[in-house]
Amino acid sequence: MKKELLLEIKDLKTYFYTDTGIVKAVDGINLKLHKSEVLGLVGESGCGKSVASLSILRLVDQPGKNAGGEVIFKGEDLLKKSEEEMRKIRGSEIAMIFQEPMTALNPVYTIGNQVMEAILIHQDVNEEEAKKKTVKMLELVGIPDPEKRFNEYPHEMSGGMRQRAMIAMALSCNPDLLISDEATTALDVTIQAQILELMKDLQKKIEAAILFITHDLALVAEMADTVAVAYMGKIVEYSSVKNIFKDPRHPYTYGLLKSIPSLITKKTKQPLLAIEGMIPSPHNMPKGCYFHPRCPFATDICRKQMPELKEIKPGHLVRCFNPIENAKEVSKK
């Protein structure tokens, strides 16, 4: 069963032209997202995951600029659209939830006003209907007493409630694609569980696809159908969530999985497997594979040449010359 393709990113590049040189924040990424699929994009800070999401909506600010590639959404390239056309797509067909609900919401307008704004702009309704719809949305995302909350300002709400309001705003126009950029990172774990549950629930209801961006591998395991792992502006591994966690092939993915303490590891108080070193400076990128200075399996070719993202088994793409063959054997060593 093949699902309908919703978004295809082809060789997307976003570079920042700074005084000290060009920073290739997004350096030729390819992604496919089908209808009502959840794609997890994971990576550490500086890997370009947020810039990638902003590039889809063409929200990257100076000195950042698109440097090539295509973003095909429902068969049309968003990068070729006029600013006017983009404005119609943003918030209606593609909506976004940001990390910090306090800074993403406008402090001088009420919550109700801000959710209603999206509805008034994108839908052909009058103010009264928009207000009714807003209250319904606030209720849908689990904000108690929505009619009263409609008139509250962001500072009167808790972090979890603000994030709910953000979700209400994002979903108010039934988007086909929802981009969630670290939507639960600022929240406490019990509140995070509430919000994730809500997102899963609503995703089923409105059948939206989600591009789920996070640094937390555990969240990806919970939410995503497919996973793309990013490192220094490039996708290094791309597969189903099961493959990524059970059969990771890229040494970076493997190291990342092994380095996080989790509730399922048996031994505690033992050294964790750590990835040596740190991410390179974007101004001084290593030659060859960007990961080779930290990679325990690096060989000569890794130092000279950037590997291609290759399909090593159906649906499992890896950018590595020496992919891990069997994760279980490596962990024994």
């Binding site: 019990t190 569980a193 591998l217 099961k242 996080i260 989790s262 509730l263 964790l272």
Partner: protein, 333 residues
């Protein structure tokens, strides 16, 4: 019998909320409200809880960086509760702290060598040459290259800065270190490096840690015993294994169930807590957790349950957890 290195008895720390023309306190934030626990020599005791639960305040009050409102702090048989700053100074050689934010906690105008040497200078340990040698030696211990001695904090990455903070904390050979969210600002691959370092140092220097964190997976990995805090109170204290295998307090149960697990094949039963943490200015009567507890009864609103030993060092503060760990939970109708 293990030796208690630190004993906290009925500790309270209230912060005034001032208002009115004369800036009189009009209310009190009960950041830490009547908590008691022991820390034994050589162990890692962790305090976990969500934001606003009072864990950081506890850490700072224990070190007398904040004046306690009431209660007792006994460090190795000495009651330091009412010690003045000058009386505390000699004791501070043995009690150090590592801060959460590796950016804000280092003086940007001092080179790294000076930052690490400063505690030796303050406590008049050795002459300048000896101090510098000790600083270099300590840099090696925490995995910083001694060539970096003259560099400034901004020239280092987050993980390296945290190493500088750790070097500063251990340079006086303390016995006890409060580690306040030492890895929460770091990326996953760097986090494991720093956790390994902390565990390694504990072995080598026979340190005792009070480890403060919100990430339960991290806490499980490094701790011997754990205390769970909620709204300024301790809800449960137990050995790490015991706490994770047999959580008895409803809050601990919900907290543990909320943690995402990095394995897509494990789908666990979630206890989703409704609502947010109440305000510490006006906490609920009786048990502070009752407003979110699925088992709350009338008695919970009347009486705050005491933290009692229900057997073999497992303490719980719940009306419905009895001796021997028998629970009498029934859901609210």
């Amino acid at each position: 019998m293990k030796k208690s290195i630190l004993e906290v008895k009925n500790l309270k720390k209230y912060f005034p909320v001032v208002g009115g023309v004369f800036s009189k306190p009009i209310a009190w934030v009960k950041a830490v409200d009547d908590i008691s626990f022991n820390i034994f020599e050589g162990e890692t005791f962790s305090l976990v809880g969500e934001s606003g639960s009072g864990k950081t305040t506890t850490g700072k009050t224990i070190l007398k960086l904040l004046e306690p409102t009431a209660g007792q702090i006994i460090a190795e048989d000495i009651d330091i509760t009412n010690y003045s700053a000058s009386e505390m100074r000699p004791l501070r050689r043995d009690m150090q702290i590592i801060f959460q934010d590796p950016y804000g906690s280092l003086n940007p105008r001092l080179p790294v060598g000076e930052i690490i040497r400063e505690p030796l200078f303050v406590h008049r340990v050795g002459n300048k040459k000896e101090q510098e040698e000790k600083a270099i030696e300590t840099m090696k211990v925490v995995g910083l290259r001694p060539e970096y001695l003259r560099r400034y904090p901004h020239e280092f990455s987050g993980g390296q800065r945290q190493r500088i903070g750790i070097a500063r904390a251990i340079v006086l050979n303390p016995k006890f270190i409060v580690a306040d969210e030492p890895v929460s600002a770091l990326d996953a691959s760097i986090q494991s490096q720093v956790l390994n370092l902390l565990m390694d140092l504990q072995q080598k220097l026979s340190l005792t840690y009070l480890f403060i964190a919100h990430n339960l997976a991290v806490v499980r990995h490094v701790s011997d015993r754990i205390g769970v805090m909620y709204l300024g109170k301790l809800m449960e204290i137990a050995n790490t294994q015991e706490l994770f295998n047999n959580p008895l307090h409803p809050y601990t149960q919900a907290l543990l169930s909320a943690i995402p697990i990095p394995d897509p094949e494990i789908k666990k039963e979630r206890i989703i807590l409704a609502g947010d943490i109440p305000s510490p200015i006006n906490p609920p009567s009786g048990c502070v957790f009752r407003t979110r507890c699925i088992y709350a009864k009338d008695i919970c609103a009347e009486k705050m349950p005491q933290l009692v030993d229900i057997g073999s060092g497992h303490f719980t503060a719940c009306h419905f957890v009895k001796k021997g760990g028998k629970t009498e939970f029934t859901k609210k109708s």
